[in-house]
Symmetry: C2
Subunit: 333 residues, 2 copies
Protein backbone atom coordinates (compact mmCIF):
# COMPACT_ATOMS: atom_id res chain seq x y z
CA UNK A 1 0.00 0.00 0.00
CA UNK A 2 1.43 3.34 -0.99
CA UNK A 3 2.20 5.71 1.84
CA UNK A 4 0.50 9.04 1.33
CA UNK A 5 1.29 10.97 4.50
CA UNK A 6 3.90 13.61 3.63
CA UNK A 7 7.30 13.14 5.24
CA UNK A 8 10.14 15.43 6.23
CA UNK A 9 11.91 14.35 3.04
CA UNK A 10 8.91 15.50 1.00
CA UNK A 11 9.07 18.86 2.75
CA UNK A 12 12.79 19.16 1.99
CA UNK A 13 12.17 18.29 -1.68
CA UNK A 14 9.26 20.71 -1.98
CA UNK A 15 11.24 23.51 -0.30
CA UNK A 16 14.39 22.73 -2.26
CA UNK A 17 16.52 22.56 0.92
CA UNK A 18 18.50 19.89 2.76
CA UNK A 19 16.76 17.50 5.14
CA UNK A 20 18.82 18.95 8.01
CA UNK A 21 17.42 22.41 7.30
CA UNK A 22 13.84 21.13 7.59
CA UNK A 23 14.79 19.38 10.82
CA UNK A 24 16.27 22.60 12.18
CA UNK A 25 13.17 24.67 11.33
CA UNK A 26 10.88 22.06 12.92
CA UNK A 27 13.00 21.98 16.04
CA UNK A 28 13.24 25.77 16.28
CA UNK A 29 16.97 25.91 15.60
CA UNK A 30 17.95 29.15 13.82
CA UNK A 31 18.47 28.96 10.02
CA UNK A 32 18.67 31.71 7.43
CA UNK A 33 15.35 33.58 7.04
CA UNK A 34 15.03 32.59 3.34
CA UNK A 35 15.31 28.92 4.22
CA UNK A 36 12.85 29.26 7.07
CA UNK A 37 10.24 30.88 4.80
CA UNK A 38 10.71 28.17 2.16
CA UNK A 39 10.38 25.34 4.67
CA UNK A 40 7.32 26.83 6.33
CA UNK A 41 5.64 27.31 2.96
CA UNK A 42 6.36 23.68 2.04
CA UNK A 43 5.02 22.43 5.39
CA UNK A 44 1.81 24.39 4.82
CA UNK A 45 1.41 23.28 1.20
CA UNK A 46 1.90 19.58 1.97
CA UNK A 47 -0.03 19.77 5.24
CA UNK A 48 2.94 18.09 6.88
CA UNK A 49 2.32 16.91 10.43
CA UNK A 50 5.41 16.98 12.56
CA UNK A 51 4.38 14.02 14.69
CA UNK A 52 4.31 11.35 12.00
CA UNK A 53 7.48 9.47 12.90
CA UNK A 54 7.29 6.00 11.43
CA UNK A 55 8.43 4.37 14.63
CA UNK A 56 5.68 6.03 16.60
CA UNK A 57 8.09 8.35 18.39
CA UNK A 58 6.93 11.57 19.87
CA UNK A 59 7.88 14.71 18.04
CA UNK A 60 11.51 15.44 18.67
CA UNK A 61 11.60 17.73 21.63
CA UNK A 62 14.91 17.02 23.22
CA UNK A 63 17.02 17.65 20.12
CA UNK A 64 19.47 15.10 21.45
CA UNK A 65 20.84 11.71 20.45
CA UNK A 66 22.51 9.61 23.14
CA UNK A 67 25.58 7.47 22.53
CA UNK A 68 26.56 4.77 25.02
CA UNK A 69 30.13 3.46 24.56
CA UNK A 70 32.50 1.77 26.98
CA UNK A 71 35.11 4.56 27.00
CA UNK A 72 37.05 7.00 24.83
CA UNK A 73 40.41 5.45 25.64
CA UNK A 74 40.56 3.23 22.55
CA UNK A 75 40.96 5.17 19.29
CA UNK A 76 38.12 3.13 17.76
CA UNK A 77 35.63 4.32 20.39
CA UNK A 78 36.88 7.92 20.26
CA UNK A 79 36.60 8.02 16.45
CA UNK A 80 33.12 6.49 16.49
CA UNK A 81 31.96 9.02 19.11
CA UNK A 82 33.42 11.84 17.01
CA UNK A 83 31.64 10.65 13.86
CA UNK A 84 28.31 10.22 15.67
CA UNK A 85 28.61 13.77 17.04
CA UNK A 86 29.31 15.15 13.56
CA UNK A 87 26.32 13.33 12.06
CA UNK A 88 23.99 14.22 14.93
CA UNK A 89 24.90 17.90 14.60
CA UNK A 90 24.36 17.78 10.84
CA UNK A 91 20.80 16.72 11.68
CA UNK A 92 20.30 19.48 14.25
CA UNK A 93 20.83 17.19 17.24
CA UNK A 94 23.19 17.50 20.19
CA UNK A 95 25.02 14.43 21.44
CA UNK A 96 24.67 13.12 24.98
CA UNK A 97 27.73 10.97 25.60
CA UNK A 98 27.85 8.11 28.10
CA UNK A 99 31.16 6.34 28.73
CA UNK A 100 29.75 3.35 30.56
CA UNK A 101 32.95 1.45 31.40
CA UNK A 102 30.69 -1.55 30.93
CA UNK A 103 28.78 -0.81 34.16
CA UNK A 104 25.25 -2.17 33.55
CA UNK A 105 23.63 0.26 36.01
CA UNK A 106 25.10 3.21 34.15
CA UNK A 107 23.96 1.84 30.79
CA UNK A 108 20.43 1.34 32.11
CA UNK A 109 20.45 4.86 33.55
CA UNK A 110 21.00 6.25 30.04
CA UNK A 111 18.54 3.86 28.38
CA UNK A 112 15.96 5.28 30.79
CA UNK A 113 16.45 8.72 29.20
CA UNK A 114 14.66 7.45 26.11
CA UNK A 115 11.80 5.83 27.96
CA UNK A 116 11.34 9.16 29.76
CA UNK A 117 11.41 11.00 26.40
CA UNK A 118 14.53 12.88 27.45
CA UNK A 119 16.42 11.92 24.32
CA UNK A 120 15.28 11.28 20.75
CA UNK A 121 17.22 8.10 20.32
CA UNK A 122 20.03 5.98 21.65
CA UNK A 123 22.98 4.35 19.92
CA UNK A 124 24.44 1.74 22.24
CA UNK A 125 27.74 -0.10 22.07
CA UNK A 126 27.39 -2.09 25.27
CA UNK A 127 29.24 -5.08 26.63
CA UNK A 128 27.08 -6.09 29.52
CA UNK A 129 24.08 -8.21 30.25
CA UNK A 130 21.24 -5.76 29.95
CA UNK A 131 19.42 -7.43 27.05
CA UNK A 132 16.41 -8.49 29.06
CA UNK A 133 15.98 -5.14 30.74
CA UNK A 134 15.66 -3.08 27.57
CA UNK A 135 12.09 -2.24 26.59
CA UNK A 136 11.03 -2.81 22.98
CA UNK A 137 9.50 0.55 22.42
CA UNK A 138 12.44 2.90 22.86
CA UNK A 139 14.35 4.34 19.89
CA UNK A 140 17.49 2.26 20.33
CA UNK A 141 20.09 1.16 17.80
CA UNK A 142 22.55 -1.51 18.89
CA UNK A 143 25.98 -0.91 17.39
CA UNK A 144 27.88 -4.15 16.93
CA UNK A 145 26.32 -5.79 19.99
CA UNK A 146 23.51 -8.34 19.73
CA UNK A 147 20.64 -7.99 22.19
CA UNK A 148 18.46 -10.98 23.04
CA UNK A 149 15.61 -8.64 22.36
CA UNK A 150 15.34 -9.08 18.61
CA UNK A 151 13.17 -6.05 18.01
CA UNK A 152 16.20 -3.82 18.52
CA UNK A 153 17.79 -2.95 15.19
CA UNK A 154 21.51 -3.60 14.88
CA UNK A 155 24.08 -1.78 12.77
CA UNK A 156 27.59 -3.12 12.25
CA UNK A 157 30.38 -3.59 9.77
CA UNK A 158 30.26 -6.73 7.68
CA UNK A 159 32.57 -8.57 10.05
CA UNK A 160 32.08 -11.95 8.37
CA UNK A 161 33.19 -10.65 4.98
CA UNK A 162 36.00 -8.81 6.77
CA UNK A 163 37.30 -12.11 8.14
CA UNK A 164 37.22 -13.65 4.69
CA UNK A 165 38.90 -10.57 3.16
CA UNK A 166 41.76 -10.67 5.70
CA UNK A 167 42.63 -14.29 4.83
CA UNK A 168 42.21 -13.65 1.11
CA UNK A 169 44.72 -10.78 1.38
CA UNK A 170 47.23 -12.82 3.44
CA UNK A 171 47.06 -15.61 0.80
CA UNK A 172 47.47 -13.05 -2.00
CA UNK A 173 50.62 -11.78 -0.20
CA UNK A 174 52.10 -15.29 -0.24
CA UNK A 175 51.11 -16.66 3.17
CA UNK A 176 50.59 -20.43 3.26
CA UNK A 177 49.39 -20.87 6.87
CA UNK A 178 47.50 -17.90 8.30
CA UNK A 179 46.27 -18.22 11.89
CA UNK A 180 43.58 -16.32 13.79
CA UNK A 181 44.25 -14.56 17.10
CA UNK A 182 41.43 -12.97 19.01
CA UNK A 183 39.68 -12.32 22.29
CA UNK A 184 35.93 -11.98 22.53
CA UNK A 185 33.48 -10.56 25.01
CA UNK A 186 31.29 -13.05 26.86
CA UNK A 187 28.29 -11.22 25.38
CA UNK A 188 27.48 -12.03 21.75
CA UNK A 189 28.06 -9.37 19.12
CA UNK A 190 28.56 -8.89 15.43
CA UNK A 191 32.34 -8.80 15.94
CA UNK A 192 32.22 -12.54 16.69
CA UNK A 193 31.64 -13.07 12.97
CA UNK A 194 35.27 -12.15 12.23
CA UNK A 195 36.19 -15.55 13.54
CA UNK A 196 33.37 -17.21 11.57
CA UNK A 197 34.74 -15.50 8.45
CA UNK A 198 38.20 -16.92 9.20
CA UNK A 199 36.77 -20.46 9.51
CA UNK A 200 34.83 -20.04 6.26
CA UNK A 201 37.94 -18.72 4.46
CA UNK A 202 39.92 -21.76 5.65
CA UNK A 203 37.22 -24.08 4.32
CA UNK A 204 37.13 -22.27 0.99
CA UNK A 205 40.92 -22.49 0.63
CA UNK A 206 41.36 -25.97 2.08
CA UNK A 207 43.40 -24.72 5.03
CA UNK A 208 43.33 -26.24 8.49
CA UNK A 209 41.98 -23.62 10.92
CA UNK A 210 44.55 -22.78 13.60
CA UNK A 211 43.61 -20.22 16.17
CA UNK A 212 43.75 -18.66 19.59
CA UNK A 213 40.25 -17.50 20.48
CA UNK A 214 39.90 -16.80 24.18
CA UNK A 215 37.56 -14.62 26.23
CA UNK A 216 38.66 -11.08 27.00
CA UNK A 217 39.11 -12.00 30.65
CA UNK A 218 42.42 -13.69 29.69
CA UNK A 219 45.71 -11.78 29.71
CA UNK A 220 46.19 -10.99 26.01
CA UNK A 221 49.98 -10.73 26.06
CA UNK A 222 50.53 -14.00 27.94
CA UNK A 223 47.96 -15.91 25.89
CA UNK A 224 49.51 -14.77 22.62
CA UNK A 225 53.01 -15.51 23.92
CA UNK A 226 52.02 -19.08 24.88
CA UNK A 227 50.20 -19.62 21.57
CA UNK A 228 53.23 -18.53 19.54
CA UNK A 229 55.63 -20.64 21.65
CA UNK A 230 53.42 -23.69 20.98
CA UNK A 231 53.82 -23.09 17.27
CA UNK A 232 57.57 -22.56 17.40
CA UNK A 233 60.30 -25.02 16.42
CA UNK A 234 62.99 -24.04 18.90
CA UNK A 235 65.80 -25.85 17.07
CA UNK A 236 65.31 -24.00 13.80
CA UNK A 237 63.83 -20.81 15.35
CA UNK A 238 60.92 -20.96 12.92
CA UNK A 239 57.15 -20.81 13.28
CA UNK A 240 54.65 -23.17 11.70
CA UNK A 241 52.53 -20.18 10.57
CA UNK A 242 53.39 -17.18 8.42
CA UNK A 243 50.38 -14.90 8.77
CA UNK A 244 48.15 -13.59 11.57
CA UNK A 245 44.65 -12.23 11.27
CA UNK A 246 43.98 -10.54 14.62
CA UNK A 247 40.40 -9.63 15.48
CA UNK A 248 41.26 -6.05 16.47
CA UNK A 249 44.14 -3.65 15.70
CA UNK A 250 44.97 -3.69 19.42
CA UNK A 251 45.39 -7.47 19.37
CA UNK A 252 47.46 -7.15 16.17
CA UNK A 253 49.74 -4.68 18.01
CA UNK A 254 50.14 -7.06 20.95
CA UNK A 255 50.91 -9.97 18.59
CA UNK A 256 53.55 -7.86 16.77
CA UNK A 257 55.05 -6.88 20.13
CA UNK A 258 55.31 -10.57 21.17
CA UNK A 259 56.74 -11.62 17.79
CA UNK A 260 59.48 -8.99 18.17
CA UNK A 261 60.18 -10.16 21.73
CA UNK A 262 60.73 -13.65 20.34
CA UNK A 263 63.01 -12.40 17.59
CA UNK A 264 60.66 -12.61 14.61
CA UNK A 265 60.28 -9.88 12.04
CA UNK A 266 57.03 -8.36 10.74
CA UNK A 267 56.24 -8.57 7.82
CA UNK A 268 59.30 -10.66 6.76
CA UNK A 269 58.65 -13.72 8.94
CA UNK A 270 55.00 -13.14 9.71
CA UNK A 271 52.50 -10.83 8.02
CA UNK A 272 49.82 -9.36 10.29
CA UNK A 273 46.38 -7.93 9.52
CA UNK A 274 44.23 -6.38 12.26
CA UNK A 275 40.65 -5.16 12.27
CA UNK A 276 39.13 -1.67 12.84
CA UNK A 277 41.21 0.80 10.83
CA UNK A 278 43.06 2.57 13.64
CA UNK A 279 45.23 5.48 12.53
CA UNK A 280 48.63 6.31 13.99
CA UNK A 281 48.96 9.25 16.36
CA UNK A 282 51.58 10.65 13.98
CA UNK A 283 51.76 10.89 10.98
CA UNK A 284 47.99 11.13 11.20
CA UNK A 285 46.96 9.59 7.90
CA UNK A 286 48.84 6.30 8.29
CA UNK A 287 47.25 3.12 9.60
CA UNK A 288 48.83 1.65 12.73
CA UNK A 289 48.86 -1.86 11.21
CA UNK A 290 47.58 -3.39 7.99
CA UNK A 291 43.91 -3.67 8.75
CA UNK A 292 40.34 -4.37 7.77
CA UNK A 293 38.83 -0.90 8.10
CA UNK A 294 35.39 -0.33 9.54
CA UNK A 295 33.70 2.60 7.76
CA UNK A 296 33.12 4.73 10.86
CA UNK A 297 31.68 7.88 9.25
CA UNK A 298 29.23 5.78 7.23
CA UNK A 299 28.32 3.63 10.24
CA UNK A 300 27.67 6.75 12.33
CA UNK A 301 25.54 8.24 9.57
CA UNK A 302 23.52 5.03 9.26
CA UNK A 303 22.84 4.99 13.02
CA UNK A 304 21.62 8.59 13.03
CA UNK A 305 19.58 8.14 9.85
CA UNK A 306 17.88 5.08 11.28
CA UNK A 307 16.84 6.96 14.40
CA UNK A 308 15.63 10.04 12.55
CA UNK A 309 14.41 8.79 9.20
CA UNK A 310 10.67 8.58 9.38
CA UNK A 311 10.40 6.90 5.98
CA UNK A 312 12.42 3.87 6.99
CA UNK A 313 9.61 1.41 7.71
CA UNK A 314 9.81 -1.38 8.61
CA UNK A 315 13.11 -0.77 10.39
CA UNK A 316 15.67 -3.39 9.27
CA UNK A 317 16.70 -5.61 12.16
CA UNK A 318 20.28 -5.86 10.90
CA UNK A 319 22.24 -3.50 8.64
CA UNK A 320 25.83 -4.34 7.68
CA UNK A 321 28.17 -1.95 5.88
CA UNK A 322 31.11 -3.13 3.76
CA UNK A 323 34.70 -3.10 5.05
CA UNK A 324 37.94 -2.49 3.13
CA UNK A 325 41.53 -3.67 3.36
CA UNK A 326 44.09 -0.93 4.17
CA UNK A 327 47.87 -1.19 4.12
CA UNK A 328 49.65 -0.33 7.36
CA UNK A 329 53.20 -1.65 7.03
CA UNK A 330 52.69 -5.10 8.60
CA UNK A 331 52.07 -6.92 5.31
CA UNK A 332 53.98 -6.85 2.03
CA UNK A 333 51.16 -5.14 0.13
CA UNK B 1 30.10 37.97 56.61
CA UNK B 2 29.30 34.39 57.40
CA UNK B 3 27.00 32.66 54.96
CA UNK B 4 23.99 31.22 56.73
CA UNK B 5 21.87 29.87 53.88
CA UNK B 6 22.17 26.06 53.92
CA UNK B 7 23.92 24.50 50.95
CA UNK B 8 23.76 21.16 49.18
CA UNK B 9 26.93 20.23 51.08
CA UNK B 10 25.18 20.94 54.37
CA UNK B 11 22.32 18.68 53.29
CA UNK B 12 24.77 15.91 52.39
CA UNK B 13 26.50 16.27 55.77
CA UNK B 14 23.23 16.30 57.68
CA UNK B 15 21.91 13.27 55.79
CA UNK B 16 25.23 11.45 56.02
CA UNK B 17 25.33 10.78 52.26
CA UNK B 18 27.53 11.82 49.33
CA UNK B 19 27.00 15.15 47.59
CA UNK B 20 26.10 13.28 44.38
CA UNK B 21 23.25 11.51 46.17
CA UNK B 22 21.74 14.83 47.27
CA UNK B 23 22.10 16.11 43.71
CA UNK B 24 20.34 13.01 42.39
CA UNK B 25 17.42 13.34 44.81
CA UNK B 26 17.01 17.04 44.00
CA UNK B 27 17.07 16.31 40.29
CA UNK B 28 14.65 13.40 40.55
CA UNK B 29 17.19 10.75 39.59
CA UNK B 30 16.43 7.36 41.23
CA UNK B 31 18.50 6.48 44.33
CA UNK B 32 17.92 3.84 47.00
CA UNK B 33 14.77 4.53 49.07
CA UNK B 34 16.79 4.76 52.34
CA UNK B 35 19.00 7.47 50.85
CA UNK B 36 16.02 9.34 49.46
CA UNK B 37 14.29 9.42 52.84
CA UNK B 38 17.48 10.62 54.57
CA UNK B 39 18.07 13.39 52.03
CA UNK B 40 14.48 14.57 52.11
CA UNK B 41 14.54 14.68 55.90
CA UNK B 42 17.76 16.73 55.84
CA UNK B 43 16.34 19.15 53.25
CA UNK B 44 13.29 19.68 55.47
CA UNK B 45 15.29 20.06 58.68
CA UNK B 46 17.70 22.62 57.21
CA UNK B 47 14.98 24.34 55.19
CA UNK B 48 17.26 23.97 52.18
CA UNK B 49 16.13 25.93 49.14
CA UNK B 50 17.13 24.32 45.89
CA UNK B 51 17.46 27.58 43.99
CA UNK B 52 20.31 29.12 45.97
CA UNK B 53 23.14 28.63 43.50
CA UNK B 54 25.91 31.05 44.29
CA UNK B 55 26.34 32.10 40.70
CA UNK B 56 22.68 32.99 40.43
CA UNK B 57 21.93 30.05 38.15
CA UNK B 58 18.44 28.73 37.82
CA UNK B 59 17.75 25.45 39.59
CA UNK B 60 19.38 22.67 37.67
CA UNK B 61 16.69 21.38 35.38
CA UNK B 62 18.60 20.05 32.44
CA UNK B 63 20.84 17.69 34.40
CA UNK B 64 23.47 18.25 31.72
CA UNK B 65 26.94 19.71 31.45
CA UNK B 66 28.19 20.67 28.00
CA UNK B 67 31.75 20.18 26.82
CA UNK B 68 33.04 22.00 23.74
CA UNK B 69 36.33 20.59 22.38
CA UNK B 70 37.86 20.75 18.91
CA UNK B 71 37.67 16.98 18.24
CA UNK B 72 38.27 13.54 19.72
CA UNK B 73 41.03 12.67 17.26
CA UNK B 74 43.89 13.69 19.55
CA UNK B 75 44.31 11.43 22.59
CA UNK B 76 44.51 14.51 24.82
CA UNK B 77 41.04 15.69 23.79
CA UNK B 78 39.56 12.16 23.98
CA UNK B 79 40.98 11.62 27.48
CA UNK B 80 39.76 15.00 28.71
CA UNK B 81 36.25 14.33 27.34
CA UNK B 82 36.27 10.91 29.04
CA UNK B 83 37.28 12.40 32.39
CA UNK B 84 34.69 15.19 32.16
CA UNK B 85 31.99 12.59 31.44
CA UNK B 86 33.05 10.51 34.45
CA UNK B 87 33.01 13.53 36.75
CA UNK B 88 29.71 14.86 35.40
CA UNK B 89 28.07 11.48 35.92
CA UNK B 90 29.42 11.26 39.45
CA UNK B 91 27.50 14.49 40.08
CA UNK B 92 24.28 13.20 38.51
CA UNK B 93 24.81 15.08 35.24
CA UNK B 94 24.80 13.85 31.65
CA UNK B 95 27.40 15.16 29.23
CA UNK B 96 26.49 16.99 26.03
CA UNK B 97 29.52 16.73 23.78
CA UNK B 98 30.35 19.22 21.03
CA UNK B 99 33.30 18.50 18.72
CA UNK B 100 33.54 21.95 17.21
CA UNK B 101 36.41 21.45 14.76
CA UNK B 102 37.13 25.07 15.64
CA UNK B 103 34.06 26.29 13.75
CA UNK B 104 32.98 29.48 15.59
CA UNK B 105 29.32 29.12 14.53
CA UNK B 106 29.14 25.66 16.04
CA UNK B 107 30.78 26.83 19.27
CA UNK B 108 28.31 29.71 19.56
CA UNK B 109 25.42 27.33 18.88
CA UNK B 110 26.41 25.34 21.98
CA UNK B 111 27.12 28.41 24.10
CA UNK B 112 23.54 29.41 23.33
CA UNK B 113 22.32 26.27 25.11
CA UNK B 114 23.35 27.83 28.40
CA UNK B 115 21.79 31.20 27.73
CA UNK B 116 18.57 29.31 26.91
CA UNK B 117 18.87 27.31 30.16
CA UNK B 118 19.18 24.09 28.19
CA UNK B 119 22.35 23.07 29.99
CA UNK B 120 23.58 23.66 33.53
CA UNK B 121 27.06 24.72 32.52
CA UNK B 122 29.62 24.72 29.76
CA UNK B 123 33.28 23.73 29.73
CA UNK B 124 34.86 25.13 26.60
CA UNK B 125 38.19 24.36 25.00
CA UNK B 126 37.86 26.60 21.99
CA UNK B 127 40.35 27.88 19.46
CA UNK B 128 38.38 30.54 17.68
CA UNK B 129 37.54 34.17 17.96
CA UNK B 130 34.30 34.11 19.91
CA UNK B 131 35.50 36.03 22.96
CA UNK B 132 33.43 39.09 22.30
CA UNK B 133 30.27 37.16 21.59
CA UNK B 134 30.13 35.30 24.88
CA UNK B 135 27.75 36.81 27.43
CA UNK B 136 29.01 37.30 30.99
CA UNK B 137 26.13 35.66 32.73
CA UNK B 138 26.31 32.09 31.47
CA UNK B 139 27.86 29.28 33.52
CA UNK B 140 30.99 28.90 31.39
CA UNK B 141 34.43 27.59 32.31
CA UNK B 142 37.22 28.20 29.82
CA UNK B 143 39.65 25.29 29.77
CA UNK B 144 43.14 26.39 28.77
CA UNK B 145 41.87 29.15 26.49
CA UNK B 146 41.85 32.80 27.49
CA UNK B 147 38.76 34.82 26.62
CA UNK B 148 38.93 38.60 26.31
CA UNK B 149 35.93 38.56 28.55
CA UNK B 150 37.68 38.44 31.90
CA UNK B 151 34.62 37.47 33.89
CA UNK B 152 34.86 33.94 32.53
CA UNK B 153 36.77 31.68 34.94
CA UNK B 154 39.66 29.72 33.49
CA UNK B 155 41.03 26.35 34.53
CA UNK B 156 44.31 24.99 33.20
CA UNK B 157 47.46 23.13 34.08
CA UNK B 158 50.32 25.17 35.45
CA UNK B 159 51.90 25.49 32.03
CA UNK B 160 54.51 28.01 33.16
CA UNK B 161 55.86 25.74 35.89
CA UNK B 162 55.65 22.88 33.38
CA UNK B 163 57.99 24.74 31.04
CA UNK B 164 60.45 25.37 33.86
CA UNK B 165 60.19 21.72 34.99
CA UNK B 166 60.93 20.40 31.48
CA UNK B 167 64.19 22.38 31.25
CA UNK B 168 65.15 21.53 34.83
CA UNK B 169 64.76 17.81 33.99
CA UNK B 170 66.75 18.10 30.73
CA UNK B 171 69.58 19.83 32.64
CA UNK B 172 69.41 17.16 35.37
CA UNK B 173 69.80 14.52 32.63
CA UNK B 174 72.98 16.18 31.41
CA UNK B 175 71.77 18.42 28.60
CA UNK B 176 73.83 21.58 28.09
CA UNK B 177 71.78 23.31 25.37
CA UNK B 178 68.06 22.57 25.43
CA UNK B 179 65.91 24.21 22.75
CA UNK B 180 62.18 24.84 22.60
CA UNK B 181 60.02 23.69 19.68
CA UNK B 182 56.39 24.65 19.49
CA UNK B 183 53.43 25.86 17.48
CA UNK B 184 50.75 28.04 18.97
CA UNK B 185 47.21 28.98 18.10
CA UNK B 186 46.65 32.56 17.00
CA UNK B 187 44.23 32.88 19.95
CA UNK B 188 45.83 33.36 23.35
CA UNK B 189 45.62 30.56 25.87
CA UNK B 190 47.25 29.23 29.00
CA UNK B 191 49.34 26.82 26.89
CA UNK B 192 51.35 29.83 25.64
CA UNK B 193 52.94 29.94 29.09
CA UNK B 194 54.95 26.79 28.33
CA UNK B 195 57.16 28.98 26.18
CA UNK B 196 57.31 31.68 28.87
CA UNK B 197 58.43 28.97 31.30
CA UNK B 198 61.18 27.95 28.89
CA UNK B 199 62.43 31.54 28.64
CA UNK B 200 62.35 31.91 32.43
CA UNK B 201 64.26 28.64 32.88
CA UNK B 202 66.93 29.84 30.44
CA UNK B 203 67.31 33.07 32.41
CA UNK B 204 67.56 31.19 35.69
CA UNK B 205 70.23 28.86 34.32
CA UNK B 206 72.08 31.44 32.24
CA UNK B 207 71.28 29.70 28.97
CA UNK B 208 70.72 31.48 25.68
CA UNK B 209 67.11 30.82 24.58
CA UNK B 210 67.02 29.03 21.22
CA UNK B 211 63.65 28.16 19.80
CA UNK B 212 61.24 27.50 17.00
CA UNK B 213 57.91 29.05 17.95
CA UNK B 214 55.62 29.39 14.95
CA UNK B 215 51.84 29.62 14.55
CA UNK B 216 49.93 26.39 13.98
CA UNK B 217 49.20 27.45 10.41
CA UNK B 218 52.78 26.42 9.52
CA UNK B 219 53.63 22.87 8.39
CA UNK B 220 55.04 21.34 11.57
CA UNK B 221 57.23 18.71 9.93
CA UNK B 222 58.85 21.13 7.46
CA UNK B 223 59.36 23.86 10.06
CA UNK B 224 61.04 21.44 12.47
CA UNK B 225 63.14 19.97 9.65
CA UNK B 226 64.39 23.42 8.65
CA UNK B 227 65.04 24.42 12.27
CA UNK B 228 67.14 21.30 12.92
CA UNK B 229 69.08 21.71 9.65
CA UNK B 230 69.96 25.29 10.67
CA UNK B 231 71.45 23.93 13.88
CA UNK B 232 73.40 21.14 12.21
CA UNK B 233 77.13 21.04 11.46
CA UNK B 234 77.12 19.03 8.24
CA UNK B 235 80.85 18.25 8.33
CA UNK B 236 80.77 16.62 11.74
CA UNK B 237 77.12 15.47 11.58
CA UNK B 238 76.43 17.03 14.96
CA UNK B 239 73.80 19.39 16.31
CA UNK B 240 74.44 22.49 18.40
CA UNK B 241 71.70 21.42 20.84
CA UNK B 242 71.24 18.25 22.89
CA UNK B 243 67.72 18.55 24.27
CA UNK B 244 64.27 19.51 23.01
CA UNK B 245 61.32 20.69 25.04
CA UNK B 246 58.34 20.44 22.67
CA UNK B 247 55.14 22.20 23.64
CA UNK B 248 52.94 19.13 23.00
CA UNK B 249 53.54 15.37 22.83
CA UNK B 250 52.46 15.52 19.19
CA UNK B 251 55.19 18.06 18.39
CA UNK B 252 57.68 15.93 20.35
CA UNK B 253 56.73 12.95 18.16
CA UNK B 254 57.21 14.98 14.99
CA UNK B 255 60.61 16.25 16.23
CA UNK B 256 61.71 12.67 17.04
CA UNK B 257 60.55 11.55 13.58
CA UNK B 258 62.61 14.32 11.93
CA UNK B 259 65.68 13.59 14.10
CA UNK B 260 65.52 9.94 13.01
CA UNK B 261 65.16 10.98 9.36
CA UNK B 262 68.36 12.98 9.73
CA UNK B 263 70.20 10.09 11.38
CA UNK B 264 70.17 11.27 15.00
CA UNK B 265 69.30 9.03 17.91
CA UNK B 266 66.85 9.75 20.74
CA UNK B 267 67.76 9.90 23.63
CA UNK B 268 71.49 9.31 22.87
CA UNK B 269 72.10 12.39 20.68
CA UNK B 270 69.09 14.42 21.71
CA UNK B 271 66.77 14.02 24.71
CA UNK B 272 63.14 15.04 24.13
CA UNK B 273 60.40 16.05 26.56
CA UNK B 274 56.87 16.75 25.34
CA UNK B 275 53.81 18.14 27.13
CA UNK B 276 50.39 16.61 27.89
CA UNK B 277 50.99 13.08 29.17
CA UNK B 278 49.77 11.05 26.18
CA UNK B 279 49.73 7.30 26.71
CA UNK B 280 50.71 4.73 24.08
CA UNK B 281 47.99 2.77 22.33
CA UNK B 282 49.77 -0.39 23.52
CA UNK B 283 51.05 -1.18 26.12
CA UNK B 284 48.43 1.08 27.62
CA UNK B 285 50.22 2.32 30.71
CA UNK B 286 53.35 3.62 29.00
CA UNK B 287 53.83 7.26 28.00
CA UNK B 288 54.38 7.89 24.31
CA UNK B 289 57.33 10.22 25.02
CA UNK B 290 58.92 11.63 28.16
CA UNK B 291 56.46 14.32 29.04
CA UNK B 292 55.08 16.98 31.35
CA UNK B 293 51.77 15.40 32.33
CA UNK B 294 48.60 17.44 32.68
CA UNK B 295 46.44 16.03 35.50
CA UNK B 296 43.34 15.35 33.38
CA UNK B 297 41.12 13.64 35.97
CA UNK B 298 41.80 16.43 38.46
CA UNK B 299 41.31 19.15 35.83
CA UNK B 300 37.98 17.61 34.79
CA UNK B 301 36.88 17.39 38.43
CA UNK B 302 37.81 21.01 39.03
CA UNK B 303 35.78 22.14 36.00
CA UNK B 304 32.68 20.23 37.14
CA UNK B 305 33.07 21.34 40.76
CA UNK B 306 33.35 24.95 39.72
CA UNK B 307 30.12 24.77 37.73
CA UNK B 308 28.17 22.93 40.42
CA UNK B 309 29.66 24.05 43.71
CA UNK B 310 27.34 26.64 45.12
CA UNK B 311 29.72 27.45 47.97
CA UNK B 312 32.51 28.58 45.70
CA UNK B 313 32.04 32.34 45.86
CA UNK B 314 33.58 34.45 44.52
CA UNK B 315 34.50 32.21 41.62
CA UNK B 316 38.29 32.33 41.01
CA UNK B 317 39.10 33.82 37.63
CA UNK B 318 42.07 31.52 37.14
CA UNK B 319 42.79 28.10 38.67
CA UNK B 320 45.99 26.25 37.81
CA UNK B 321 46.72 22.64 38.77
CA UNK B 322 50.25 21.27 39.15
CA UNK B 323 51.92 19.15 36.45
CA UNK B 324 54.40 16.29 36.83
CA UNK B 325 57.32 14.92 34.85
CA UNK B 326 56.81 11.37 33.48
CA UNK B 327 59.38 9.13 31.82
CA UNK B 328 58.51 7.90 28.33
CA UNK B 329 61.73 6.56 26.84
CA UNK B 330 62.95 9.73 25.08
CA UNK B 331 65.18 10.91 27.94
CA UNK B 332 67.75 9.06 30.01
CA UNK B 333 65.72 9.28 33.23
Amino acid sequence: MKKTTPTMKDVAKEAGVALGTVSKVINGIPVGETYKVKVEAAIKKLNYQVNTYARGLKTSKTETITLIIPSLNLPFFASFAYEVEQQAYAHGRKLILCCSNGIPEKELDYLLLASQSKTDGIIALTYSDISNQVPNNIPLIAFDRKFDNYQIPRIASDNYEGGILAIQKLLEFGCKSPVFIGFHSSFPGEADKRFDGYIEACKKNQLKPVYLYATDSEDCHDSIYNFIKEHENKDTHTLDFDGIFANTDLHACIAIHVLKELGYSVPDDVQVIGFDGTKKFYPGEEYMVSTIRQPLPELAKKCIDMILDEDNYPIPTLTLLPVTYEYGGTTIG
